[in-house]
Structures are given as structure tokens and as C-alpha cells.
Assembly symmetry: C2
Homo-oligomer: 488 residues x 2
């Protein structure tokens, strides 16, 4: 608790790093670009993962596990995929070390060179579709609705904790279907699952849309995305779901006999979210005092602090409250550390984003009350001991809703419609946020706008209304607005 967190207005990037490190979420490691996810960060990730996993299972998916390594030749099978993923990756070339004949430590054993190099998976379409070839013969084997939780590696040049790391944790769903329609419906369903999770659990509003061809996943026919807006006005791609057509089925020769006994290629989807979501969570809600967590994802939802220190009657009151909260499935802890003063504890629990703090002092207790502070608004009230669990149950719900509403309002305040390129540049450079504008639908214009402003098309919103307009750059006709932003 020594030095303060850099304020957002002073340096948003440094503020983010301060939060991640000081709240004990993650740290850099000895391996370039790879992070250590610390216990508190991992506890939040576990809550996110468990909820997402439940939502997958409720929509009929099962988990499996595929190899970490992908034979190099697999990556070349799907032409676009190799362009997108075979570039910056970790390549295993040898399978043995030996003692250095010259002394110092161990060296690679040159005799243990692999016949074919192995790539540490950057994503698993190729190894999985190679496997599906053995699993799929007939329409009776379809659909195949499989997900895996795994680590993947992409050799990123510039990394940021959670947002972009060489190794990260994610889930990747890989489904196989008998028809185009079914696969498209699956890709859309998973986009909806992601959006529901982001909004209902992370309290992070997202725009559902599709990517432009230029921003699609390498090998996809359509990429569905959820896009969130961070506290600095930059967008975050929070999850994507891809309709892969028959591209991977053709690349790995995966066919099935349909009900009419005719052989067809299988239709595919893939979809993923990662530990990047933790970055989104931080940048959606947190403030200059530290992390702010939505109650549904907080490892500890309520912290009780004795004022100024534990005492028989305070311990007793804390015990009663804890029992009542636990009976309601609310996680609660009692900070009895005798070495720290209440003010220090308050700051520490605020830094960690614990949604509700209960302060119990003897004088208040004599009046039958305790002090309750909420992390989101910093408001404090005195509440009677009687019914305090019910009060807190409702308060947690209120906090969850308030965080969402606040983020929706922020997004509304930071979404601007513009109709010419001067306004576009002005808004992108000063105010930031989402900019809704007309675009002529070409790769060329999209790239030119990016070059000139660093803004990219985040998505073509699903709910975009048809509206005749003119492209902000070229003036060519456009049928609907798309959403631009600078992005992480």
C-alpha cells in the first residue's frame, strides 16, 4: 500500500499496469511476453471460466483436450490460415538437451532434431480438424459440439498484461455440422453466449456485430464479434465466433455421408474468449483507487473489518453476519489482522475491488448498527444488524446493475455519429470512443482510414439500420453505418 496508483487522467496505460500489479492480478515473467497470473487474478479468471463453461454446457457443448503441438505441415493446409497464424509462433525443433561438453550447464543435443518441427498451438483448428476426420463418417456423428480450455502461444512483439501476451489462457470451441445453416446458427449462438456473459456477469456492455473481410479470422467466411469500450475510449475485441464454411473440412478432407447417403464436406465454426477478458473487466469499471469488480465475479464479495480491532462482541456480530451471508451463497471474509489499522485495510480492500465492506465498531454495535460501504460509488450507510444479510444481498445486485448501467451510459456518451472525414478525425483524436460512420465497403478505404487515423472498423453492428449515406472518405454510396474506433 506504499505508493499511490497513477491516476487515469495522468497516464491511462500506467494506471492499468499499476492496477494489475498492485491488486495482485498478474506480473511479467522471466520469459519474454509470458505472464504469471497471480492467485487473486486467477481466482477472478476461475469465476469467469466456470460461468462460461456452464453456459457452454447449457448450450449442449462438451469439453475435450487436444495436443499442445501442431506439426508444421498442418499449418500450411488451409491457405489463409497459414498466412494469419504461421508467422510469429514458438517452434520446437529438438527433443533433448545434453550436458555441455565444455562445462557450463546444458545445451541442445544436435542429434535430437525433430524430423518435422512442431508449432506450439496459436489456435487449434488444424490439429482438431485432422482429428475430426477420424471421428466423422456419417450425419449421425454430427453435430460435434466440442470446446477446449487451453493455453496458446502467439509470439507478439509488443505485449501488455492480459491484453496481449505471448502465452495466454483461453477456450476454443470447434464444432462440426451437416449444413451451412446449422453452422451459421451455431456461430451466432456463441456470439450471443459471449455477449450475455459479458453483459450479465462482467457488467460490460458489448456491441454485437460482424467483422469486415479484412478483419476476419484467417480461414473464416464470417467473423462475429463482441466489442466493448474501455475507460480511455479505445475499443476491445472481447470475443469472436467464426463461421468457417467448409474451408477446414476441405483442407483436412473431412466428409460425411448425409441422410441420402451422399458424401459432403462438413461445415465448421470456431469461437474463443481468453484471459484478455480480465483486461476488459479492469478497464470497464476500475478507478483511481484500484480495481472495481462486479459482484458476480468477485472472489470475495463482502469483507468485514473490525473497528478498530477484533473484540468479543465484534467477533460475535461478524460471525452472525458471515453465517447469514454464506447461507445466501455470498462469499465473505473477516479481516482480523491485528497489525493493520482500519484505514489501511479499507484502502487494501478497495484496491482489490471487493464490492461491499462492512465496518463493525463497538459504539455502532451498541446502537444495533454496522457501517456498510459500497466499492462502486464509495457511499457509506449505517444499517441495522437486523436484516443486514438481506440488505447486502440486494446491495450486491444493485452494484452489479449500477456497474452495467454506468458502463452503458459511458458508452452512449462516447459513441458519436459523424458524416464527414474532418469530424471523424476530430472525434477519433480528441474524444475517442466509438464513431458511427458510413463506409464504402472496400478493403482499400478501410486500410486508408486506418493509416490516416489509426482507427479500425470494429464491426458492422448486427442491429445497424439500413440508411443511405456516403462514405466519409470517398463519398461513395453506403447502405449502413459501421462502428470505428482505435482499439487494443
Amino acid at each position: 500500500m506504499a505508493k499511490a496508483i497513477t491516476s487515469r487522467s495522468e497516464d491511462y496505460s500506467q494506471w492499468y499496469i499499476d492496477i494489475v500489479k498492485r491488486a495482485g492480478l498478474a506480473d511479467n515473467s522471466a520469459v519474454r511476453g509470458c505472464m504469471v497470473i497471480k492467485p487473486y487474478g486467477f481466482a477472478i479468471w476461475e469465476k469467469m471460466r466456470d460461468q462460461i463453461d456452464l453456459m457452454f454446457k447449457e448450450t449442449g457443448h462438451v469439453n475435450a483436450y487436444f495436443p499442445l503441438f501442431i506439426p508444421k505441415s498442418f499449418l500450411s493446409r488451409e491457405a489463409e490460415h497459414v498466412e494469419g497464424f504461421a508467422k510469429e509462433c514458438a517452434v520446437v525443433t529438438h527433443h533433448r538437451l545434453m550436458n555441455d561438453p565444455n562445462g557450463g550447464g546444458v545445451v541442445v543435443d544436435p542429434s535430437a532434431k525433430l524430423e518435422e518441427e512442431l508449432i506450439v498451438r496459436p489456435t487449434s483448428e488444424t490439429i482438431i480438424w485432422h482429428t475430426y476426420k477420424d471421428w466423422i463418417n456419417s450425419y449421425r456423428d454430427l453435430p460435434l459440439l466440442i470446446n477446449q480450455w487451453a493455453n496458446v502461444v502467439r509470439w507478439e512483439m509488443r505485449t501488455r498484461l492480459f491484453l496481449r501476451t505471448a502465452e495466454f489462457l483461453w477456450q476454443e470451441g470447434h464444432t462440426a455440422h451437416a449444413t451451412r445453416e446449422e453452422a451459421v446458427a451455431e456461430a451466432e449462438l456463441m456470439q450471443k453466449v459471449y455477449a450475455d456473459f459479458a453483459e450479465q456477469y462482467m457488467a460490460m456492455p458489448v456491441v454485437k456485430g460482424t467483422k469486415t473481410p479484412n478483419e476476419r479470422f484467417a480461414g473464416a467466411e464470417e467473423t462475429y464479434t463482441i466489442e466493448a469500450l474501455m475507460g480511455d475510449g479505445k475499443a476491445l475485441q472481447a470475443g469472436t465466433s467464426h463461421f468457417l464454411g467448409q474451408n477446414f473440412a476441405k483442407a483436412f478432407d473431412v466428409k460425411f455421408l448425409n441422410e441420402n447417403n451422399v458424401e459432403e464436406y462438413v461445415w465448421a465454426t470456431s469461437w474463443g474468449v481468453s484471459t484478455r477478458l480480465l483486461g476488459g473487466l479492469i478497464m470497464t469499471h476500475s478507478d483511481d483507487d484500484g480495481l472495481v469488480l462486479p459482484p458476480k465475479l468477485a472472489p470475495t464479495q463482502v469483507m468485514i473489518v473490525p473497528i478498530p480491532k477484533p473484540a468479543v462482541e465484534i467477533d460475535e456480530a461478524a460471525g452472525i453476519i458471515m453465517k447469514a451471508l454464506k447461507a445466501k451463497g455470498i462469499s465473505v471474509d473477516y479481516d482480523t489482522d491485528p497489525k493493520k489499522r482500519p484505514g489501511f485495510k479499507f484502502a487494501e480492500h478497495e484496491l482489490k475491488g471487493i464490492p461491499v465492506r462492512i465496518g463493525i465498531g463497538k459504539r455502532d454495535l451498541a446502537k444495533g448498527t454496522v457501517e456498510i460501504a459500497r466499492r462502486d460509488t464509495k457511499e457509506k450507510t449505517f444499517q441495522p444488524m437486523e436484516g443486514v444479510a438481506e440488505y447486502i444481498e440486494q446491495l450486491l445486485e444493485d452494484i452489479q446493475n449500477n456497474l452495467f448501467d454506468r458502463a452503458v451510459q459511458y458508452r452512449a456518451d462516447h459513441t458519436t455519429s459523424v458524416d464527414n472525414f474532418d469530424d471523424f478525425k476530430e472525434v477519433i483524436e480528441s474524444k475517442g470512443g466509438f464513431v458511427s460512420a458510413h463506409w464504402d465497403g472496400t478493403d482499400e478505404t478501410e486500410k486508408k482510414i486506418k493509416e490516416l487515423t489509426k482507427a479500425t472498423i470494429r464491426c458492422i453492428p448486427l442491429n445497424a439500420e439500413e440508411e443511405e449515406g456516403a462514405c466519409i472518405l470517398t463519398g461513395k454510396p453506403s447502405k449502413r453505418r459501421v462502428l470505428f474506433a482505435k482499439a487494443y
Copy 2:
């Protein structure tokens, strides 16, 4: 369901592979030595993992995540560790592929050679203790009780699904303590947690003991093990917990200021179980008809089969039973597939090891009864619909207990005390199982016995009584019996 499973008596190894593949647990992959864990196998692993994770948390541990890669030089820091783990491993030497200038696919970009090679973690002591140096300063930072669930890679030459694979899933606990006593107590506690899990959930009895110096983990001062006996009389090391002394603290310079403000090296433990446990589960209980699962780890505990096919009154009865079972937290499914006959379904559910099957036919239903078959003994009984959920709840408990008792009996029948080397060889070669015998305590004798018989000392049992005896090989004095066996 085409061809039968090889019988255990005919070929135990092939029987094992048949079970793993035909029950849909795992398969070989395109990558040498790496397996694909299929959805049904993964569902069992999830149940195991979730229970183990709960037991870790109940004993005060938290999860975190450390990098997949270990800088090569880290492995050399602890002298014994490098001998044990730096040999057969996956070595990342490059971080980029490029299009083959000669056409065909992609090749390693020679300009993207890493300055220092990275090893795909075979175990994480080194990277974790490097990290702990930053986390530990004072006695107030201790104990550090951290676990991670991860994939690890050891380049095994001969692999077997679940039992020994190049990549496997596991958990590895890494704790840091202020005193030797506390670290030893932690290592012992985790051995107990593993034993409790094996016995109470897997219904797999284990012997708790310590390893001989020769069989210790590379870098440990003491290795605590749980050893199980498989259906072919071979032993399986099912989990280990290591007291690491100050070896890793010294290698990575991790010191703390104790309460007297004196600097000391930190004391360490590490402990792990892996997907190997799935192999143990299979070989402890399964039979020639397929998998046999203890109810506590069965993804589906009860399967209802309509006889011969769904009908209004059968569906209704199934609905009533499912509702009653689910209310008790029992997982149940109803096999309504119209294309398969009951006999086919029975065989399929037996192959998958589903503990209880309920057959519902119209005639029985008219009498108010359903047929209940248990997977472990194959016994069938007719039970009144009234109270069937209570009956099944008790039956699942009986099956769980019966599997454990049966395995305990098997182990008792296959544990032999011998007092001379001729008997030893005879038992090891014919009957197999655990052989309890005196040993003179030297590495040399242990290695000689292994050379002559392929049997190794599985452990020095914790409960071994002091008993004066003579080593079966050398005749030298021995103070207690140790447990030998051929092992996986």
C-alpha cells in the same frame, strides 16, 4: 459396438487400450506421444479435477498460473533437477516461420533464432522459484500455498494413453515455508489429500509411503508417494509429494527475514497428480465388458432405457424417476434413441461404465416395478417405482463401497511377504502384486534387484513396523520391510 474387447486374461495391455478407445476416453494423435482426451474421458477428468481442486482449497491452497516455457539456463540451476528433467524435453529454438522460398509451405525462419532456447515445462519448480524470489521477503509472506493446473511435456520414448504420454495434464503444487517442520508437514498433508481422494473418490486403495533415495524426485530430500495395485498385478505410482528442503531456494536465491530479522532460505514442497490417474481408475475396476466407474466420478450415474422403446407411460415413469434423482443431485440420462435395441444400449452403457441402469418396460410398469442393474456386479433386481430414487441413492453408495472393498481384497490377495530371493523372484514372475521384503537400504542392492527381476521398491510404507530381518539379496541386516513390485 462392433467387435468385442480383448479379454484381460488374453492380453491385458490390449484390453486396456481397447477400453480407452472403445469407451471413448482418449486416442492417439498426429503428434508422437501426445494424446487427444475425448469428451467422455475429459468429463471424468473434470470430475476428478474439480474434487481434487476442492480438497486443495479446503486445505488453504490457491491456484495461479505460471509460464509454459522455461529458459534453458533455469534448468541448470539445481544440480540434481537438471539431471532428472533436462534430458528428454521439447526445446523451442525459433519464434517465426516464413514462406518456403522454394515453394512448398512454410519453413523455420533462420533469422528468428532465440537468444536462449526455451524448454516446454516438464515441471515448474525452476520458473516458479524464480518468481517466488520477487514474492517473498519476510516471514509475513509465508507460507505461500500455490497450485497450478497445467499441461507439461516430457519426451517419453514409449508412451501409453494416460499412463505415460509426452504431453499430459496435471496439477503441481509449489509451497514455500518458513521452517523445515512446516514444509515436511505440508508434504505429508498433501500425500494424505491424495490418498483420501484415491480411496474415497476413485475407490482405489493406495499404500502411503516414502520413496528410496534412488526413486526420489530430482531435487527432493524426501518423496512421499501413494502406490496403487492394478488388475494385472503391477503397481502404479498414483501421486507424489516432495519435501524439497532448501534446494530450490538456494538455487534461486529465495530468502526471507524471519521474526528475529535474520535472513534464512525458504523451505519448499511440490506435489502433483496427473491424467495418469485415469489409467489407474481404469485398471483398478474395469472388466472384460468395459469401463467400470465409481459412482462419485461417473459423469452419468444412472441411465434409463425404455424397453423396447419410448412410449407414453414409459416416458412418464422415466420423467418421474429423473426428477426424483436430480433432486438428490444424482446425474441421470434417458436413452431414447429409436434406432438402437435395448440389448445394444445395455452393452453400450456397460462399456461406458455407467454405474446403474434402469430398464422400464410396459409390463413391469403395470406391476409398478422397474428393473435395476448395477454395473459392478451385473446383478439385476426389480424394484417398486415407489421409493426408487431412495433405493438408487443407497445403491450408488453400495457400489462405491463395493468397488473399494473389492480392490482392497484384490490387493490383500496380491500382497505377499517373502524372506528369500528365490521366493521373491518366483512371486514377482508368476503371481505379481506387491511383495513385502527386507532390503539392506543401499542403492546398489536396489538396482541389482531391479536388474534381476524388473521389480522396484515402490515405497517404504509409512505404517511399516520395525522388524529385524535380513536383506533378501545380500542377507545384510534390515530394520523393516519395503514394498516391491513391477510398476507402470
